[in-house]
């Protein structure tokens, strides 16, 4: 049997045993319920008519508003209060309308039935209005196409799938920041929770094997690094599955209930979050694993894990700072410190506020640190595993693995 075969078997055991443990099932279902509730409840409480006001400049805006309103209420019960109501407020020119939009008096501006101006793209409230307006404009255009006799399926499809209104924002091209920031913040929070949660699984798993002495049986036929690697892969996979599951539940809840409009989620933003989630998890899991090998009792485990937990807390706060000031000194310094990078970099990257070279350098530093830690931790782990009783000093563990 190959070395990796052994690692894989160890990983599978972790997945199987942790995956069906009560604590895992409970935390997973509670998380899923919580996330679903967070998404669904505001929508239920919201209810009623969603009122918005659109500023109109020039002509040709009225049919779009009417069509948008009809589309928005299309699925309502016959006697129910309409779920969407859009008022049109005429403005003299673009400037006055934009001032009103900026001050929040109106929610969007239609110009000559061909352009729509919103405060920002992808914000939670506005985007539902924006997409209604686009759909409205499309149906108006469709009527025109039909009236002109162009009934070819291709024409219809083209109209239906295009966004006929040109969209501009008041804040320019970085208008999506708020949403992307929100996504980054949510991802960051999840990462932080995951590092602590799964890191503690590592810690508890390693300490447990030591406290119930099963490690001596294992080590009689398996190498220490294989146990460490198998545990990291097993617990990591479960962690990522739970992480991905949480996101999936959130998406499902959003789609099934239509409670809130989905922020326009960039695939790149999500991929970036998952990538850094994996790096962050690896980094901390290796450290937690080594720490767990130093103690024989669960009561001592929290003490050795304390420094790691502090690092995670510090990383979290640094990245909150980075969220507020993604180009600031704190954010830049945090990018190059491997222990804060997994928290800071995804935030900066989501906000588009990190130069490519910094991103690459950060990945290189973090990966190099993980590799270095695997070597150091592997040795501490090997040295610490068979020393029972009181807490093993780092140096002792290092030395006893030397021979």
């Amino acid at each position: 049997m190959s070395s990796m075969g052994t690692v894989w078997r160890i990983a599978l055991r972790e997945i199987r045993e942790h995956g069906r443990s009560k604590s895992f099932l409970v935390t997973t279902s509670v998380t899923f319920l919580l996330v679903a509730a967070l998404v669904v409840v505001p929508g239920l409480i919201g209810g009623g008519t969603e009122e918005s006001t659109v500023g109109g400049v020039g002509t040709g805006n009225e049919p779009i508003i009417t069509a948008a309103e009809q589309l928005g209420n299309a699925s309502d019960e016959p006697d129910a209060e309409p779920s969407v109501s859009i008022d049109l407020q005429e403005f003299e020119d673009r400037e006055t309308a934009e001032t009103a939009l900026d001050e929040g008096e109106i929610d969007a501006i239609l110009i000559d039935g061909s352009e729509v101006v919103v405060e920002s793209v992808g914000g939670f409230g506005e985007s539902s209005l924006l997409s209604l307006l686009q759909q409205g404009a499309a149906s108006v255009e469709l009527e025109a196409v039909v009236a002109e006799g162009g009934q070819a399926a291709a024409d219809v499809i083209e109209v239906m799938t295009s966004d006929p209104l040109e969209t501009t924002t008041l804040t320019g091209p970085e208008a999506g920041d708020e949403t992307r920031g929100a996504v980054a913040y949510a991802g960051l929070l999840l990462l932080y929770i995951a590092v602590l949660l799964y890191g503690n699984w590592m810690l508890a798993g390693v300490t447990e094997e030591k406290s119930n002495r099963v490690v001596e049986v294992l080590l009689s036929s398996v190498k220490p690094w294989q146990i460490l690697a198998g545990k990291i892969i097993g617990i990591g996979s479960l962690g990522i599955a739970q992480f991905a599951g949480t996101i999936l539940v959130a998406f499902l809840a959003v789609n099934l209930t239509g409670a809130i409009e989905l922020p326009s989620l960039d695939v790149v933003v999500v991929a970036n979050l998952i990538f850094w989630f994996i790096l962050g998890f690896l980094l901390f899991a290796v450290m937690y694993g080594a720490a767990g090998s130093l103690v024989s009792r669960m009561e001592d485990a929290q003490n050795v894990a304390f420094p790691m937990s502090m690092i995670a807390v510090a990383g979290f706060f640094v990245s909150i700072a980075a969220l507020g000031d993604p180009d600031g000194t704190v954010a830049v310094v945090g990018t190059f410190i491997p222990f804060t990078a997994p928290f800071v970099v995804p935030v900066r990257a989501s906000l588009g506020a990190i130069p490519a070279w910094q991103y690459i350098a950060s990945v290189v530093i973090t990966v190099a640190t993980i590799v270095g830690l695997v070597l150091v931790a592997g040795r501490i782990y090997a040295g610490g595993l068979l020393r029972f009783g009181s807490r093993v000093k780092l140096r002792e563990a290092w030395r006893s693995a030397e021979t």
Binding site: T6, E17, E209, E216, V217, S220, S221, F388
Partner: protein, 295 residues
Amino acid sequence: MLALKDLHKRYDDVVALAGCTLQVDRGRMLGFLGPNGAGKTTAMRTIFGLVTPDSGEVTWDDGPIGIEQKRRFGYMPEQRGLYPKMRAQEQLAYLGRLRGMDAKAASASADAWLERLGLADRRMDRVEVLSHGNQQRVQLAAALVHDPELLVMDEPFSGLDPIATETMADILREQAEHGKAVVFSSHQLDLVEDICEEVAIINAGQIVVEGDVRELKDAAPIRHLEVELDGEIGDLFDGLEGVRQIRSDDHIHTAIIDSGTDVRGFLSRAQAIGQLRHFAYTTPSLSDLFREAVK
């Protein structure tokens, strides 16, 4: 054949092994004895590389022991260790797989051992809910599940009731009969005497006595003399030469004497004192050998 050759190991000021040399052939069962702290566990751990000796070597069939060899060894550590939350059968199958068995064989072997040890109906119980004795049985199965060529058992009999002790002894004996090399450590000398042909006694990190139990006894420089009398023993033993030690309780008097001592006149002198209830002149017990060896 397992061979430990001139092993030395020192932990700071404590010498754990001081030239320990030992050999166990296939098909043989060796009882490994020694007082606490004599180096039994350390010596056993060196077989699995759990302790690296400062000098000396451990070989299997005259070759070095690597991971491939270790996968064909079975080990029961002194401190028992199993995953408490794992089901008994799955745990055994898992350990079988870690030692290179395929899934089907590992699972079948796990079931077979649970059946043999009377745990068939508890196979899907978590180890933590099993009684202490049953946990011990699972631990034994964990050492045997992959049908190892060498069995290394550290105090396998400690904490077992008489019936479990018998089962354990049967299985160890049977393993040796099947051509496995078996070595186990124990404090229960009477037990070792009953089940083992070969013993090695370690003291202060060195093997001080090694060999066939019967031969060792015959060759021992001492004999055991036991007398039970109605009446005061008085100076009965004073007439004997070469008395090393006398123990008395109420009516039973035991003396350890030199093996060359002439005891022919002793019996008649004892009979003169009172009704003789019990008289025995034997080779020393393993306990006597042990005490002699480690004193």
